[in-house]
């Protein structure tokens, strides 16, 4: 629906906690994160229009260690819009966002690890009118889903494993 739409480069930072809930499944863990997520897009007309959104995100992921240095993750990311550069943007865009997460990481057991992740939004950011050239209101638009590809580095502050069993 949106024309001349392009992705923008952005950033995220936050804290990540990893739990090991199953005694007999040591290679399965739960990752819980608190992220400050900067997302957005741009539209290219005569000038570029940048739309930036700051989210507080809470991914909940199931992590499976394929090898000692390689893991895959999947789960959901719940986000709350905290601010935007768009005038009255919090009235225009939905304040809640939810996405499915798929990712992989390497060197999880070391102090510095790397991850790559794709977050595919499943709830539309925008609920708006469809207005034709004459000004008729022809239904509603539920569009604009956050799709983010991220790569990053994790620094391990605490090397101790958090077990959720005795």
């Amino acid at each position: 629906m949106l024309q001349n739409k392009n992705a923008i480069a952005s950033y995220q930072w936050g804290l990540s906690f990893q739990y090991f809930p199953f005694k007999r499944l040591e290679n399965v863990s739960v990752i819980n994160e608190f992220l400050f997520n900067h997302k957005g897009y741009m539209q290219d007309f005569e000038t570029d229009y940048h739309f930036r959104f700051n989210y507080l995100s809470f991914p909940i992921l199931i992590n499976y260690s394929l090898f000692s240095d390689l893991s895959i993750q999947s789960g959901v990311e719940l986000s709350k819009l905290s601010s935007t550069n768009v005038t009255q943007g919090r009235r225009t865009y939905n304040n809640f966002d939810m996405g499915l997460v798929f990712g992989m990481s390497c060197y999880d057991t070391r102090r510095v690890s790397f991850y790559s992740r794709i977050t595919y939004g499943i709830t539309p950011m925008l609920d708006y009118y469809r207005i034709d050239d004459l000004g008729n209101f022809a239904g509603e638009i539920h569009d604009l889903k956050n799709v983010c590809i991220s790569v990053g580095v994790k620094f391990k502050f605490c090397h101790e494993k958090i077990h959720l069993y005795r």
Partner: protein, 192 residues
């Protein structure tokens, strides 16, 4: 000397200030203002491929605030939106016939109505002040979607095809407006 500089600065500040509305970009096409019913004092439309936007400027006691001009003797309502296309002055006007409007509250009867701009029930005019061209509508519509009597807000949309006296045709597309307490000429007092 400092005193005079201060006075001149103050005069310039008050005299040449512009009173722009709140431009909320349309999420589909950010060149246009979003359709709102908040009284943001903005209007916008495409004139062919160019973008017309409302401009409100105040010069001392003269102001270009959007005007709602009522002509009850002719049983017509004129809405005039001042603005610019490519930073050159241009206004859009609507002549809506058959109206019984003597004060703002009478507009409530128009809420939700679509008026055809065919020259019979209504007419849309695009004034290009730069070239002094006047384009009159052949077809199209004016939709007064929302009227808030309490907050004195009018919001709506418009779109029409217009022609000037040389035969040049333009299309006014995706027009929308949202104004709070527009200036009304010829309005009778509410307490009368």
């Amino acid at each position: 000397m400092k005193k005079y500089t201060y006075i001149v600065s103050l005069l310039l500040m008050f005299g040449l200030s512009s009173c722009e509305g709140i431009f909320v970009p349309d999420p589909i096409d950010p060149r246009l203002p979003k359709y709102t019913e908040e009284g943001n004092d903005v209007a916008g439309a495409f004139v062919d491929d160019l973008f017309w936007k409302s401009v409100v400027e105040c010069h001392f006691s003269v102001t270009d605030e959007p005007q709602l001009m009522l002509l009850p003797q002719k049983d017509s309502l004129i809405l005039r939106f001042y603005g610019s296309t490519l930073d050159k002055s241009a206004s859009i006007e609507f002549y809506l016939k058959g109206s019984k409007v003597t004060q703002f509250s009478d507009l409530a009867a128009w809420e939700g109505k679509k008026i055809l701009l065919n020259g019979i029930s209504g007419c849309g005019i695009y004034n290009d002040d730069e070239t002094s061209s006047v384009f009159r509508s052949q077809s199209g519509q004016f939709y007064l979607k929302h009227v808030d009597i309490t907050r004195k807000i009018i919001s709506g949309t418009f779109g029409f095809t217009a022609i000037d006296n040389t035969g040049k045709i333009i299309k006014i597309k995706s027009g929308r407006f949202d104004y709070c307490d527009p200036k009304i000429r010829g309005e009778s007092r509410e307490d009368e």
